[in-house]
Amino acid sequence: MTKQTHNPGEQEQRQPRDTAFWAEYTERLKVSEMPEDAVNLNVDGRRTVGPLQGFGKMWQKTYRIRLEGADTTPAEVVETWKENFPKFWMPGNRFLTARAGLSPGDVALINSDVPGSRWFSTGIVVIYADDESFTYMTPEGHPFSGWVTFSAFEDEDGITTAQVQLLIRSNDPLYELMMPVALHRVEDMTWQHTLRSVAAHFGASGEVKTRVVCVDPKRQWRQYKNIRHNAVIRSAFHAMTAPLRRNPGRA
């Protein structure tokens, strides 16, 4: 192959066709206006973290459901999914956005009920969205460090199939301890519920197939300090100190 010459000026003029699909880089997350009762904790001012920044083993988890009987295309599924994302979310959890739909750069809050705390608060940022997929990434303090990709495609039989794929590590040693006892199961339940909800929206029902691969069995011990951002600890503290604040329930 002929060696190509680096020419920055020429490269800058070419705009790749994925340009509009990616969020713009920001050093730290900024949460837009949210509903009055939303708890904005553990997101504003945080950095995003990918699977390379986490602590625990790296997992790739893939969940799929075939939308048999549904007359719909992959693009229609993804468009609907983006527009109605909170509706497909697990009961007991709130997925809060500043406006309807999900677009690159959007920051959303997640407020959940967990034992011992009325609110567990974290969030996500949408880093990529095109017609047939979208991806969000987690902030520091979230149980997982990584990204989740939602997509739809036609399988080998021509059946539209919806998929959720995670590439994650637990974010710190405490979350890593919680992985085998709770977090794996919660994650499975969450995405299996979501996919069944998406299928039901299109009048389809089916079995969610789950595939789990340990991509990297090594723990990244140098990342143990991530625990300083742990959203469970901070949310519990926030809940415990609520009576001391004049307007409890709000950040």
Binding site: M1, K3, H6, D18, W22, G50, T149, L167
Partner: protein, 119 residues
């Protein structure tokens, strides 16, 4: 199943590196092509793998995922991963996804090869 819209060429560079030239699209369907290129580079004894992104035309989040899994595999084999030829747009994506924390990027091939020879 979609066909891979990408071509990869493997060539030796310097004393211990192999360059994988990526031309086209980096998305989920490129996995086989990328891993084949990596296996070819490793079979030739390369200790440093250099990805040349000058010919990259499109990359989605699945493509980023492929780079992460490639990096894990390279680390497991005690090799190193370097890159060059990223446009401003793709450098920004490396920042967004924080790949830039773990993968060294260079402007030009000679810089990347020089760095590889010094490892």
């Amino acid at each position: 199943m979609p066909q891979a819209q990408v071509k990869m060429n493997v060539r030796k560079a310097g004393g211990k590196a192999a360059i994988i030239d990526i031309e086209g699209e980096l998305a989920a369907f490129a996995e086989g092509v990328l891993m084949d290129a990596y296996n070819q580079a490793s079979a030739d004894g390369a200790r440093v793998i250099i990805l040349n992104f000058e010919g990259l035309e499109y990359m989605n989040s699945s493509g980023i995922g492929l780079l992460v899994t490639l990096l894990i595999r390279i680390n497991r084999e005690k090799q190193r991963l370097l890159t060059y030829g990223l446009s401003e747009h793709y450098r920004s994506i490396f920042q967004i996804t924080r790949l830039d924390d773990a993968i060294a990027t260079y402007d030009a091939e000679d810089e990347a090869v020089k760095a590889a020879d010094g490892m």
